[in-house]
């Protein structure tokens, strides 16, 4: 059985940790495309994260976590006996941000990136950590050296494009010889209105992150885009939803928006393992 490393990338507050916390109950539940074959030895990290969700709140940002936390689990496909060990390292968004700013990545993460043949890249709607592209007013001030917020940092879309470049440089081919796969996950997708939902996360990316939208069409990586809602609603502001969620529990909450190629429509699928299942491809 092959060991398959799946990397989660994204800036701070992009939804990576909450997804990992939601993924284990989904794998364990056995109703998705991927099913946990055996209970992993160490599920402390995912249980800690899932605990936040069980209590009706999102997990806090994990960028100040110093110790490396991996989630390693043997999974099998729902419709076959093929299995794979997937390792999902939880890498803080700050680490990726630093990698883009300095072009440097600590050696164990670099090794992990080179071992991987697939990745999930996260971007979250309405994140207060989102950095907009520069505008002319700010740029003019900066160019003229008459002030301007230099510390504002690299825009989110530039960072994501750079992360895709890193993946292109690092990911290896899949065991079947295919090109590495990349799931692009737009998290908090439950926050968009019906019209945006119907247009899909791809259109959202093209509008909000034009550099990323263009880049995703110009990469040799095999790309698929998903919308994600880890619990199906906003636990932080929607009190009635939170109450209902706490009453009924996590099961049945959370969905993935995926594109149906038969009717060319975006639809909700309760299987939150889909973005990982597609990357693993068993």
């Amino acid at each position: 059985m092959t060991r398959r490393s799946v990397i989660l990338l994204g800036g701070p507050d992009s939804g990576k940790t909450n997804y990992v916390g939601r993924l284990w109950p989904a794998l364990d539940g056995g109703e998705g495309r991927l099913i946990a074959a055996v209970q992993p030895n160490d599920i402390g990290f995912v249980l800690d994260t899932a605990d936040h969700l069980f209590q009706g709140q999102f997990a806090p940002r994990s960028e100040h976590t110093e110790a490396r936390r991996d989630f390693e689990v043997v999974v099998r496909a729902c419709d076959s006996d093929s299995q794979a060990t997937i390792v999902i390292p939880d890498i803080s968004g700050e680490l990726w941000k630093k990698a883009v700013d300095d072009s440097e990545l600590e050696s164990d993460w670099m090794d992990e990136l080179k071992r991987a043949d697939g990745a999930l890249i996260f971007v979250r709607i309405n994140s207060d950590q989102n950095i907009r592209p520069l505008d002319w007013v700010t740029s003019k001030r900066l160019l003229g050296r008459i002030g301007g917020d230099l510390k504002k940092g690299t825009p989110t879309q530039v960072m994501l494009c750079e992360l895709i470049r890193f993946l292109e440089l690092s990911l290896k081919k899949r065991p079947d010889g295919g090109t590495p796969r990349l799931s692009v996950v737009v998290s908090a997708w439950d926050l968009v209105d019906q019209e945006s939902f119907e247009k899909g996360p791809e259109a959202f990316i093209a509008r909000e992150y034009p550099l990323l939208g263009g880049r995703l069409k110009d990469t040799f990586l095999d790309v698929k885009i998903f919308g994600l809602s880890v619990v199906g609603g906003d636990l932080s502001v929607d009190e009635s939803y939170r109450e209902a969620f706490l009453e009924k529990g996590l099961d049945g909450h959370g969905w993935v928006a995926s594109y149906d190629t038969t009717n060319h429509l975006w639809h909700k699928d309760s299987d939150v393992t889909l973005p990982v299942a597609w990357v693993v491809g068993i």
């Binding site: 990698a99 883009v100 072009s103 440097e104 990545l105 600590e106 050696s107 670099m110 592209p133 520069l134 505008d135 002319w136 740029s139 003019k140 900066l142 160019l143 003229g144 050296r145 301007g148 230099l150 690299t154 825009p155 879309q157 530039v158 494009c161 750079e162 470049r165 890193f166 440089l169 093209a206 509008r207 034009p210 550099l211 939208g213 263009g214 880049r215 069409k217 110009d218 990469t219």
Partner: protein
């Protein structure tokens, strides 16, 4: 030599220790003699001061592991090399040549005096793309995305008055702005095809030097350029006092170009007139520019731009879409496939059609 070093170490260690001793009546701190007649360095009653919390046994590794062999050894450990990705700041001519081996890259030469607006034009082009406002094109890729970001942010400046002398030979780290190429791949909306541009980011002093002293070695890459942008500050063309000098220098600049071309024809020239937001250059002035170019046997297309704008009527980024289209679209004069001509008697027009053209 060895003994003097040992003596120095001995004095140093003595100094590092306090006079304190836990053995009642011992004066080792003052006399250097141990009351128990033991070596003071290893006596278990001897104590030393630590910086923060009081007392420590003299057998601290800091004192006892210091040997004369350590002299001349590295003071600090070598930093651990952190793996890096190739930075996406600037490309050298070799990088562009490698790229061109697999696909067509339009190489643009960008010339212009200091402060003519070359960097501002590149910054504004990047802002148009990153805000999805470059009509007719969308971003596809850039191997120098962080380079564009740095330029738009004014994060790297030429060393004023003393800019770098040479083009970068390879991809540089981000700590210094080096002359080199910025790379951009754009997808053209009308046909979905990608166009790829290599845009040099050069100090204006290089153009100035080229005109004044014919110093052209570092601009040899212009021989392989598909098109050359000559950037001129539109305000200087509108200023009666400066106008004549500017036009003359433009003429002298194009006159220098043949020596850079290594025998090849001069590529298409585009006169990029910046600061359009502060006033349109008068048609008469443009005519004078054309006349000056004509004197030197070249034609030039004039493209006004406004990289930034304080003028409500003109948006920032004005003209850059025209500039990109003029750069990537081959300006092939259209020919009528079967022009109307007056038949000549016995002229055998059908057979002679191609020969006449």
């Amino acid at each position: 030599m060895g003994s003097s070093i040992d003596q120095a170490i001995s004095q140093w260690t003595e100094h590092a220790m306090s006079s304190a001793c836990r053995y009642d009546g011992c004066t080792v701190g003052d006399t250097g003699r141990c009351a128990l007649e033991q070596d003071p360095l290893v006596c278990s009653y001897r104590v030393t001061e630590t910086s923060d919390n009081g007392l420590e046994s003299p057998s601290t590794p800091e004192v006892h592991q210091f040997r004369s062999d350590d002299f001349g050894a590295s003071v600090l450990d070598a930093p651990v090399a952190v793996p890096t990705f190739p930075p996406s700041t600037t490309l050298g001519p070799k990088n562009i040549a490698e790229m061109m081996a697999s696909r067509y890259v339009t190489i643009v030469g960008i010339l212009g005096d200091p402060n003519s607006g070359k960097t501002a034009a590149l910054a504004s082009l990047y802002l148009l793309i990153s805000n999805d406002r470059l009509d007719g094109y969308t971003f596809a890729d850039s191997h120098t995305l962080m380079g564009f970001e740095d330029i738009a942010r004014g994060a790297r400046h030429w060393n004023e008055g003393n800019p770098p002398e040479e083009m970068t030979s390879h991809t540089e780290m981000a700590d210094e702005r080096r002359p080199g190429f910025l790379h951009l791949r754009l997808r053209r909306d009308r046909d979905g095809r990608c166009v790829e541009l290599a845009l040099p980011d050069l100090p204006g002093e290089w153009t100035k030097e080229l005109v004044r002293t014919s110093n052209s070695d570092r601009l040899q890459f212009l021989a392989s350029a598909d098109v050359i942008w000559i950037v001129v500050d539109g305000r200087t063309l509108n200023d009666k006092v400066q106008r004549q000098g500017v036009i003359t220098r433009l003429g002298q600049l194009v006159k220098r170009l043949p020596q850079l071309m290594a025998g090849a024809a001069i590529p298409r020239l585009l006169l990029v007139v910046t600061h359009h937001d502060e006033g349109e250059v008068l048609p008469d002035t443009i005519k004078r520019v054309h006349a000056e170019m004509y004197k030197h046997g070249v034609e030039i297309d004039v493209i006004p731009i406004a990289s930034f704008s304080d003028n409500q009527a003109i948006k920032a980024g004005f003209g850059l879409q025209n500039l990109i289209s003029a750069t990537v679209d081959r300006a092939v004069p259209s020919q009528s496939s079967w022009p109307s001509v007056t038949p000549k008697l016995n002229g055998r027009n059908f057979l002679a059609y191609r020969r006449d053209r």
